[in-house]
Symmetry: C2
Subunit: 416 residues, 2 copies
């Protein structure tokens, strides 16, 4: 069977499964999640063996150590994946909730009811745990899922998908969890045109994957991830709080999208905070690239336009001294990818202006941008962080994997 | 200036305007809407003169009478457009509403706040009132708008856009209302690739326009409109109610998307309802195309596969006799465009199954499908009816033209 037929047939199966899943009982969905969790533990040796094939190939190919680490499955990581499914089972079922209900002027009772999206495709890079999390969140929210992971993790992902499918075989319809068994780029091209079967595609990965999906998909896309995030240290900031937040937001996990890339410092407090802050950053191995005003205060390399524009995703921090809140707001407007932005201030009016005027998925006063994720927000899980404005913005939990339908109760009404 | 530069420059202006509009006071937005309303009345002679150019050309080109009527501006219609802006001004401003707020386990207070989408592009066919309604709803919801109407209405639409822009010139930022002054198809192609500036595109028109937009846009799309809608007359229906609803849903305005195209009748009551119903339909000039079981009961032409599959948008009705609720559900699952579906029944369990299992934007018990629109639902306005599941489903009012951002109040929290 060629790739087109293979994927269309997968789309058909997923669509058919989604019809049944849409009114599946919570009890069955939770049972399936528990069986999946159990099956991961029971099959851990198989999973580790299959994962070793991917790890060996990655080493041969000279993959970076940090990427190999992301790819690696250990017994501990398999237990964590299994636990995450139990955690998802314990969440409230979003489906069936009536989010609002009213009578219209014709005496019709109109309710807005939460329903699944249908078929969700997720295209991601190398971390095998995404396979488990995505399948779990989609099942809980009554959706079927088509998964396409990176070619580096093909053996691990196929093994995981097989184990999960065996676990739910007697409980949920066939076609609930689908893994694309192909390492060809063409498979992604074909998937992106299957809008007849797929209701939404969520790309998870770097900017190039996301742009490729946006530019080629006829399936509606939810963009995730790219975060060029800022902390603005206001004239009225608590400086020790500012230092703690900047160090946390830059160094706690520099490779993730909610880490910061640039700090903006009000000129009136720059001399007070920069020497001590830069010492602490250097202690954490952070390279500082500053504007020319920064260079007057601390030794650092000169930041260029590109430094303000792109994510470093590394232990590098750009610094710019600004002369006002407006200057900071304009810099953020120009360079932000609208992911997470923070102000550190004790001034009430400045905090309110920042909250109102900054256009981003998450806008913070006096807290680290690192909190932008579904677990920290209390959603109990996360399928990604949307950086677009349509449908979902910010961390996406179970509710963001749902749509709605209007249910209307009449007693013979006709339109005049 | 070539078309690409012209539209990019329009996109830039609209984007810049949207930044200011996003925190514009309600008072100013409402003042602008009232001035726009007033300006339409004051300039009605100019609008009628410009509209006459489009009407004359349409007649020369041999346009269908019903389409010429949709294009026509009369004094009465201009007053109606002006009134609709006053109506929009009177609606509650959706922007700034905190739809939920909670504390997370780190003691952060997290609020979900309603914000504008940004820049909305609307691509539509010939009705000039869309220009006014769309501009009004976008302004009220804090969005800037790029409008591209059909070439048949170019003179009318340019005149309306000019009048509206003059009216808001001193109140809202330049670039709030943008009308694409081009009748080239290429303009649509270019617009659909401007995802750098445009946050969402809404096509309003026939299936071919919508498919073109879905297949060619890198801007997120909200699909509207196509409605292959059904009424299922259950074994336990009140037959006189069923007749009234079917006649209303088919004949009150046959050319619109929430009119019905097919009725499904349970075999146990087919002989009771069909003779009387078909007489009433024929009196209303409706042509009936029935299945072979229908033909045994009433004289009619035989319905083919295409009759069940497509919208007639005309005084034609397909009839199918089914042997069970499941049969009806399967027919609807196969042919429905998931717009509006109705069951007529007095049986509680059947009504619940229909509401739960039919996947459509609006699912009715004992009422006409003609109620699926923003005015009938009580939204006070409508930008279209979404038939997709992402972002908005069903009638789209002001809330559906908004996104959200999380505002987070901390006191120094960092991520552990």
């Amino acid at each position: 069977m060629d790739l087109q037929n293979y994927l269309e047939s997968m789309g058909t199966k997923a669509k058919n499964a989604s019809r049944i899943l849409s009114f599946e009982k919570s009890e069955n969905k939770n049972l399936a999640l528990k069986k999946m969790s159990q099956a991961l533990i029971e099959n851990k040796d198989i999973l580790i063996t299959e994962n070793k094939k991917d790890i060996d190939k990655a080493k041969l190919d000279g993959m970076k150590e940090s990427l190999i680490d992301r790819l690696l499955l250990t017994e501990k990581r398999i237990v964590d994946m299994a636990d995450s499914l139990i955690q998802i089972a314990s969440l409230k079922d979003p489906i069936g909730e009536i989010t609002s209900m009213w009578k219209n002027s014709d005496d019709l009772t109109i309710g807005k009811k939460r329903v699944p999206l249908g078929v969700i495709a997720i295209i991601y890079e190398s971390r095998p745990n995404v396979t488990v999390d995505a399948a779990g969140l989609c099942i809980k929210s009554g959706n079927s899922v088509i998964l396409k992971g990176g070619k580096e993790a093909i053996n691990s992902n196929l093994a995981i998908a097989k184990v999960l499918n065996q676990a739910i075989n007697d409980i949920l319809p066939k076609g609930t969890i689908n893994y694309v068994n192909s390492t060809e780029r063409e498979a992604v091209n074909i998937l992106l045109k299957l809008n007849k079967y797929i209701d939404v595609v969520i790309p998870r990965g770097g900017a190039s994957l996301i742009n490729f999906v946006v530019n080629n998909s006829t399936v509606p896309v939810i963009e995730t991830g790219v975060g060029n995030c800022h902390v603005y240290v206001d004239e009225y900031a608590n400086l020790s709080m500012a230092e703690d937040i900047i160090i946390n937001a830059k160094t706690q996990r520099p490779g993730v999208c909610n880490a910061i890339e640039t700090i903006l410092i009000h000129e009136k407090i720059a001399k007070k905070i920069l020497p001590s802050l830069s010492k602490k950053l250097i202690d954490k191995n952070v390279e500082i690239r500053g504007c020319n005003k920064t260079q007057v205060i601390i030794p650092c390399t000169l930041a260029c336009e590109e430094d303000y524009k792109n994510e470093f995703l590394d232990l590098i921090l750009a610094v710019k001294i600004v002369d006002s809140l407006d200057h900071a707001l304009n810099h953020i407007y120009k360079y932000s990818t609208k992911h997470s932005e923070a102000i550190i201030t004790e001034n009430y009016s400045n905090s309110q202006r920042f909250l109102n005027e900054v256009d981003a998925a998450a806008v913070y006063v006096n807290a680290s941008t690192r909190f932008t994720d579904g677990f920290a927000f209390g959603f109990g899980g996360e399928i990604g962080i949307s950086t677009q404005k349509l449908h979902a913005r910010g961390p996406m939990g179970l509710n963001e994997l749902t749509s709605s339908k209007y249910v209307i109760y009449g007693n013979g009404q006709i339109r005049k």
